[in-house]
């Protein structure tokens, strides 16, 4: 849906029609109508500004439809967040720019109104300008609504994909949860190692823990880096202050884990609330449909009842003897009179 400028085609058509139907008296007025850009002054400028805004709005709508397509994609891995966020940003800027232009146009129109044009033609021009401004504003409003819907769809899809990744990679999540505590495993190991130098507990254990310290395969890159770090530090000096700080961190980490878990519960509950409101909305919308069906059914019942009454009356009238008698006597009389004639 791009804006095409077919003014030239239009002009060519008009020329050809005019040459076919020779109406020289109206040629001048038609000339004036056609050559709007030849006319100087604010009228054409207004239409230029309005058409520029209209082109911007259509361009923004195009970008918005591309964004909607991107946001609708539900693949887990091929999501292109950079592109989507760039596009969102561009569209936001466009909408803000169009808003400003429309505001400028509106102030321009008001200024023209204030400068006064009391002729009938001027009033029509003002009305037309106002209408055009309203139209542009309403178009911009619909574009913004569509933009908001697309953003909502995008956040929903992101949440869904996050849930799916969590489902598929739950074990990785638990491993990641253990990673912070494994940091402290390392430090506690080195602490044990350090203190056992002075107080040997038994034969097996220090060397156990020690070899554990240096030789265990780490769970992920973070732990490996901290392994080397703490191995150096723990082996070299009993960095008491550093270790104490890490101990405090461990206490915090337990609390932090609890708070993250509770926060996630909170978000889940909020989502549930939203789902419930949506559900209620949908059912309320359907209520109206049900009422229509109900009214229709009542109509049907009354119609059928009336029709049945009519049919009963008809049946009664047919099966009653009065008309029958008249018809029989009528036929007899007709036969008798025919007989008489022959």
């Amino acid at each position: 849906m791009s804006v095409q400028d077919r003014t030239n085609e239009f002009k060519a058509c008009v020329e050809s029609i005019r040459s076919r139907s020779s109406l020289p008296s109206h040629a001048d007025t038609k000339q004036r109508l056609l050559q709007q850009d030849g006319k100087p002054g604010p009228k054409s400028e207004f239409s230029r500004m309005a058409s520029a805004i209209g082109k911007d709005i259509s361009g923004t709508t195009l970008k918005l439809s591309k964004l909607a397509q991107l946001a609708k994609r539900k693949t887990l891995f091929d999501d292109r967040p950079v592109e989507i966020s760039e596009l969102t940003f561009i569209i936001k800027q466009d909408i803000a720019g169009i808003n400003k232009k429309i505001a400028a146009l509106q102030s321009y129109v008001k200024q023209r109104n204030a400068s006064g044009s009391s002729s009938a033609e001027g009033k029509q021009i003002d009305e037309h300008n106002n209408n055009v401004v309203m139209l542009l504003q309403s178009k911009l409003a619909t574009t913004s609504m569509t933009f908001k819907d697309v953003l909502e769809v995008r956040t929903q899809n992101m949440k869904e994909s996050k849930n799916r990744t969590e489902q598929f990679m739950y074990s990785t999540a638990t491993a990641a949860n253990q990673a912070p505590s494994s940091k402290f495993f390392r430090l506690v190991d080195s602490m044990l190692y350090g203190s056992q130098r002075s107080d040997p507990m038994g034969d097996g254990s220090p060397s156990h823990l020690d070899s554990k310290g240096k030789g265990r395969a780490p769970q992920n890159g973070d732990v490996l880096a901290l392994d080397l770090n703490s191995a150096e530090e723990g082996g070299g000096a009993h960095g008491g202050a550093l270790m104490q700080m890490q101990m405090v961190e461990q206490q915090d980490s337990y609390i932090q884990q609890r708070s993250t878990a509770i926060e996630s519960i909170e978000t889940t509950i909020a989502e549930l609330g939203q789902i419930f409101t949506q559900l209620a909305n949908m059912v309320a919308e359907q209520r109206e449909t049900v009422q229509r069906i109900d009214a229709d059914t009542h109509d049907i019942a009354s119609n059928i009842g009336g029709a049945q009454r009519e049919l009963l009356k008809y049946y009664a009238s047919i099966s009653s003897n009065r008309w029958l008698m008249l018809k029989v006597f009528g036929v007899l009389i007709v036969f008798v009179s025919f007989d008489d004639f022959t």
């Binding site: 253990q178 265990r216 519960i265 789902i275 919308e285 229509r292 109509d299 119609n303 059928i304 009336g306």
Partner: protein, 199 residues
């Protein structure tokens, strides 16, 4: 995700560490290993409690076993140790320890702390059996799981409501048609009665 052993330990700050009550679940080990493993677990529990200060939680890894220890201190100077495998999530382990210690302090009077063999705390065995599944232990995890299930059910509900909407739309079309047909029926019946007196 298994728990290997749970133990409640008396841990006075300066003195010796005494295991007051413990329960093991060694079903995954062969018969000949059970003795060694249980000794090792006891020793591990004692050691880590000695190394933990009062009011602190620690998690220590030893080969495949992870020991979570919570030294509660307090008036009774108790500490709880739970030895699990590496998969068992950390936070519910500590929640379990807190719960265990609270339960122990309510059930067992402090006077019998000096006599470990006399303490009977059978709940510890039920603890270890029931909480092999961490979701049971931790209220938060259970809550999260139930909420997720509820969300799934709600999604299905919304889908069925959508289908209901479609069916309602079809119904209303049908009832519209029926209504018009019944009107035609009524008209024809009326026509029968009034005109065509000849018939």
């Amino acid at each position: 995700m298994k728990i290997f052993s749970i133990a409640v330990v008396l841990a006075p700050p300066g003195g010796p560490v005494v295991i007051l009550s413990s329960a093991n679940d060694l079903s995954s080990f062969s018969f000949y290993q059970k003795g060694t493993v249980s000794e090792m677990l006891t020793f591990l529990s004692k050691t880590v409690v000695e190394r933990t200060q009062q009011g602190q939680r620690q998690s220590i890894q030893e080969k495949v076993y992870t020991a979570h220890v919570y030294n509660r201190g307090g008036a009774e100077q108790l500490a709880g140790v739970i030895v699990t495998d590496q998969e068992y999530p950390v936070r519910p382990a500590f929640a379990l320890l807190t719960k265990l210690l609270d339960d122990f302090t309510t059930k067992v009077p402090q006077t019998s702390f000096g006599n470990p063999s006399a303490i009977s705390f059978p709940e510890i065995a039920t603890y270890i059996q029931k909480y092999q599944d961490p979701r049971q232990a931790d209220a938060i995890m259970r809550l999260q799981q139930e909420l997720d299930e509820t969300k799934i059910i709600l999604h299905k509900t919304i889908e069925s409501v959508l289908q209901r909407g479609e069916k309602l739309d079809k119904l209303i079309e049908d009832s519209d048609t029926l209504s018009k047909q019944s009107q035609m029926f009524l008209k024809t019946a009326k026509k029968q009665n009034s005109c065509c007196v000849i018939m």
